[in-house]
Every structure is written in C-alpha cells, then in structure tokens.
Amino acid sequence: MVALRVWLADPNPTSRRQARLGQVWLGWLRLRRNPLAMSGLVIVGLLLLVAALAPVLAPHDPLVQDLSRRLLPPLTPGNLLGTDDFGRDILSRVITGARITLYIVGLVALTAPFLGLLVGTVAGYFGGWTDAVLMRVTDIFLAFPRLILALALVAVLGPGIENAVLAIALTAWPPYARVARAETLTVRNSDYIAAVRLQGAGGARIILGHVVPTCLPSVIIRVTLDMAGVILIAAGLGFLGLGVRPPLPEWGLMISSGRKYLFEQWWVSTMPGLAIFVVSLGFNLLGDGLRDVLDPKSAPK
C-alpha cells in the first residue's frame, strides 16, 4: 500500500501510465478533502448498494398487497415506514424503487451522451454547413422545455419505462453536443490531428479514435451533474402517470398515488419524495465536487 502511494505521488513519473494514474490519485486526494463531495459519493454508493441488494434488504415483497394492513403509520412493527393504500410495505417499495431509478438513470447516462458526442464531434470536426445544420438542430431541441418535450414524446411512444428513458434521452443530449463541439473545436487544428490526417486516416477514424477520447472527461463530468436532473424528470413523468406503469414501485408514481391521502396519511407521499431528494442531492454534491477537483478555477479557496 505504502509503496503504491509513493509510486502514485512520485513527482517524476517514469511512464505515461504512472503520470496519468498519479493525476487521478491527486484528484482523489483533493476530492477526499471536500466533505460535501464525499457525502455525495457516499449517497451514490449507497444507492448502488441498495439497488444491488434490494431483494435481500427489502423486508417484504414490494408488490404483495395486504388490505387488512393498509395505511399504517411509520414505526409500526414490521413496517418501519408504514404501509400504503394497498397495505404494501413502503420501505420495501422505496428500496426496490432504487433499482428502477438506477435503471432509468443508467440507460439515459449511456444513450444521451453517446448521441450528444456523435452530433457535437461531427459538427465541430467538419465545420461549415454540417456544423451550422447540426447546431441549429441542437438549438431547436434546446428551445423545447425538457419536461414538455418528454411529455409530448411519451404521448407519441406510449407510457412505459423504456419509452420514458427514450423520451428523457432525446431531451437530454443537446448540452452534451455543445460541450463536445467546443472541445472538438479546440483540438481540430492541432498538430497531432494533422499528423493522423496526413497518415491517411479518414474523418470517422479521426473522430472516433482521437477526438472523442479528448471530449470524454468533460462529457463525463456533465453526466454526473445531469443525473440529478434526469432523476427529477423521470420522477415527474412517473408522477404524471406517464412513466413506469403501476404496480411497479417507481418513486414519482408512489408520490402521486399517495396524494389522495396527503392530509391524513402524509407518509405515503413523503417517504418516496425523500428518497428522490436524497439521491438527487447525492448526485449534485458529487458532481459539484468533481467539477471543483477537475476545474480548479471554480474551487473555493
């Protein structure tokens, strides 16, 4: 362990890998000093853990109804967070809901940046008309309010978890395209790209092999910062009844089904909302800290 640390912190790295890993290590040390970012990391880590172990952690089956035990308050023996209008255990449903949220977030995090990278790098690399047309399309998508565009898309595609993911991804890609284009413009005319081009590499090869890797770090930070927004939009779609179908325990859907009982049985809506809030706060804290580490300009002194 100690030898590894010394190797990582070596001011005179002997190989490219050592230098790169050393930078990552220094970044981690800086991140570790930021208590807010670390709490974000802990929350995101917990979300992953809870989602992975959901069937083990959930004390009850999240779908089994028990009408004799409906709308029990929190701290009832056997139902720590109480039960909902069908007598289902809220804690188990919140735990299982972590899986659904992670599933949506994960799929969006894979698809939206991919689309954005493609559009942004192509626009930035080729320039001219390609750039003008692609960026105009990006602007048009940006001009639509995200939730309303997602609503209209779900209306076309029909409700359901996959369609919600598709609708969110189609509204989430434009910022990535902007970031990727800006990065591409800075490297487009650099010597190493010219060298590859002189060796006879085509546009696709240069973009995929040389431009995309350069854009990746900034896109990844953007993804972390965007995840909270994705969680909120997914929950909003669920709340409006346009996302995941009942009886699946999606958090937004759970809030909406508890709305009828708000004034008498407050916990039915409150608990899943708390879960959304905590998880999205976690992603925001982590993204904020990561940005501070990777962009020293914005770091608090």
């Binding site: 807010l36 750039d131 003008a132 960026m135 105009r136 399309v137 602007d139 048009i140 001009a143 639509f144 309010p145 939730l147 309303i148 565009l149 609503l151 209209a152 898309l153 209306a155 076309v156 029909g158 909270a228 909120l232 929950a235 909003g236 709340f239 409006l240 937004g252 809030i255 709305r259 708000l262 004034f263 407050w266 809506s269 409150t270 909302g273 959304i276 809030f277 999205s280 706060l281 992603f283 925001n284 804290l285 904020d288 914005s298 608090p300 002194k301």
Partner: protein
C-alpha cells in the same frame, strides 16, 4: 451565433444592425424547426385526428369529408407548408375537447402562468442576488457554505413533492395560506361578475379594481407556489451570482478601487456589480423562461389554471392540437426570451459589441 461576421473598425452601427439581422434569421430558422418538430410529432402520434373529430360511429363518407377538410390527403410537405402558414397567421388548430381555437384558449390560460412565474422570479432575484454576493465576498465562510447547501438542495428538490409538503404543512396544518386554485370558491364567483379583467392576472386586476379583500385572498393562494418556484429559481441565481462575483473580485480594477480607499460596499455593489449584472441578465432571463414554460408539475399540484396544466390536461384527453399548440407557444416564448436576453447582453456589455 457561431458565424457572426467580423466587423471592421469602420463604423459600429451597421455591424450591430447586421448582427441583429443575423439573430432574427436564426430566430426564424429555430421557430421553423420548432414547428417541424411539433408537426412530425402530430403525424406519428397514434391518435387518428379524423376519428377524434367525427367519433367512432361516423360513416365512411363523413370520415372522408373531414379527412379532406383537414388536408390529410395532401403530400406531407404540403401539409407542413399549410401548417406553417396557419401558424404564422396565429392559427394553431382547434382544440378537440372544446372546439375552440387553441391560441385563444392559451391566451386565457397564459396570464395565470405569467403571474406565478413573475412573482417567483422576483423572489429568486431579491433573495438570490444578495445571497450570491454574500457567499462570494466571504468564500469558505459559514455563510458561503449555507448558501451553497441551500442552493444545492433547491437543485435536488422534486418540486411537486415540495409542493405537496408545503400544502400539507402551511395549508393543512397551519392554515396560513390558501389551498389549491387561484382564489377561494366564493371569490371565484365574484371574479366573474364584479371585477373588470384588464390583464387576467388576478393580483393586478383586483388592485386596479380596488378589491383589496380579494387581492389578499389571491395573494394567500399564490404565495406558496410562487415561493416554491422562487426557491428553485433562487438556487440557480445565487449560485451563478456567486461565481460571477468571485470572478470579478479577482480583477485588477477591484484591487485598484480598494487601494484608493473606496468603501467595500461601493467596490462590490457599484463597481463589481455593474460587470456582474451583464451575464446575470442572461441567467435571470433563462430562469424566467423555465418558469414560464409552465412549471407543469407545480401547476398540477396547486390546481393552477396555467399553461402547464393546460398542456397536461390536453395530453390526458388525447387532444393533440391543444398539446402541440401549447408546445409551440412555450417553445416560441422560450426562444424569444433567449434572443431578447442575448440582444440586451450586447447592448449592456461594450466588450460584446
């Protein structure tokens, strides 16, 4: 914005004029794209527009007649041309539920959203800007941390959930504010008969009519949703103010001003603020635009008869002309506000000219 021509040192006015022309051309293309998108969504949506007008029991002849009247037998590009032509004349189609022109309906719903968004933005600016400045002048202090955490919480809050909690606590438990809707039911009746509606915004209309009891009631209804939306907008504004202000305070002219012995409040609020205000205009316009876009979820929670509820209710009634018309209006407002803030930015900041 990428291909703005470089202006020479010749004269400044034509260059600005040229830019404004370019901006307007960009605006036109963006709006056309907006219409193309809603048009395509309207064509692929699995709801037959003819069937939703004539009903299930119509004869084939009736069906074909309506189909012809809607121009659905024309080639797609021609349908789009008709759609754009109609939209330019202010015809966004007819709502299937109410048989009223969509634009007319939207004009009735829009003031409610405008009132809510304006109040929320005011709150966001009045609280957010000083909070951001406070955080920027004492980086790392307790105040900075509090502003940062409160802001991040605003970013992470599911607004609809916060709205429900707010209703539960301030309306259900404490009874401090009015419940859902814009007015109590009794005042709702009065609104129809005793008030001259100048603007459709109840706070302004009641004040103009001198109906102060009703004004108070309207205020008690709007304060909670406006406060919640204002919180979210405040989170964004305070954060941006902080980062702009930090950036300015590191500049040399600030050091010069301090060395001259200028009082600190003057350094911050007069010298630095003048430069912070420039990018801040864009931020505030953007957050205003986001609130105007309907704040769909908040309006649903508070039964607020605004643009957001209009679009969602239309969606659930499968009233596609209303959904798409509403989307076009929202998109257009958004684009126009962006453009306005861009032009304002250029006028205020000499460096951007």
């Amino acid at each position: 914005m990428a291909d703005i021509p470089q202006s020479g040192p010749r004269s400044r006015v034509p260059a600005i004029a040229l830019r404004i022309v370019t901006e307007i051309a960009t605006l036109a293309v963006t709006l056309l794209g907006l219409l193309l998108m809603t048009f395509l969504i309207g064509r692929v949506v699995p709801i037959d527009p003819v069937l939703s007008i004539v009903g299930e029991r119509a004869t084939t002849e009736q069906y074909d007649a309506v189909r012809l009247a809607l121009g659905l037998d024309e080639p797609l590009w021609k349908q789009f041309a008709i759609y754009v032509g109609d939209a330019l004349q202010g015809d966004l189609g007819t709502s299937i539920r109410t048989r009223e022109p969509v634009l007319q309906e939207i004009a009735r719903y829009f003031p409610a959203t405008l009132e809510l968004a304006t109040l929320a933005t005011l709150f966001g600016v009045i609280v957010g800007v000083p909070a951001g400045v406070l955080a920027a002048t004492r980086p790392g202090s307790l105040a900075d941390q509090v502003v940062r955490i409160v802001g991040l919480m605003g970013y992470s809050m599911p607004v609809f959930w916060l709205g429900l909690i707010g209703l539960l606590v301030f309306y259900g438990q404490l009874g401090w504010v009015g419940g859902p809707g814009r007015l109590d039911a009794t005042y709702e009746m009065m609104l129809e008969f005793t008030i001259v509606q100048y603007t459709g915004m109840i706070l302004i209309d009641t004040a103009l009519n001198g109906e102060w009891a009703m004004f108070g009631n309207a205020f008690s209804h709007i304060v909670l949703p406006a406060g919640l939306l204002g919180y979210v907008s405040m989170a964004y504004i305070s954060r941006m103010t902080r980062s702009f202000m930090m950036n300015e305070l590191g500049q040399e002219y600030i050091t010069t001003a301090r060395v001259k012995g200028m009082p600190e409040w003057r350094v911050i609020w007069v010298h630095a603020m003048r430069n912070v205000a420039v990018p801040l205009i864009t931020v505030i316009a953007l957050s205003y635009a986001y609130l105007l876009e309907g704040s769909v979820l908040t309006e649903t929670i508070f039964a607020w008869p605004g643009l957001g509820s209009y679009i969602t209710n239309a969606l659930f009634a499968a009233d596609m002309p209303a959904v798409l018309g509403g989307t076009v209006v929202v998109g257009a407002v958004f684009v126009a506000l962006n453009m306005a803030s861009d032009i304002l930015y250029r006028l205020v900041d000499p460096r951007a000219r």
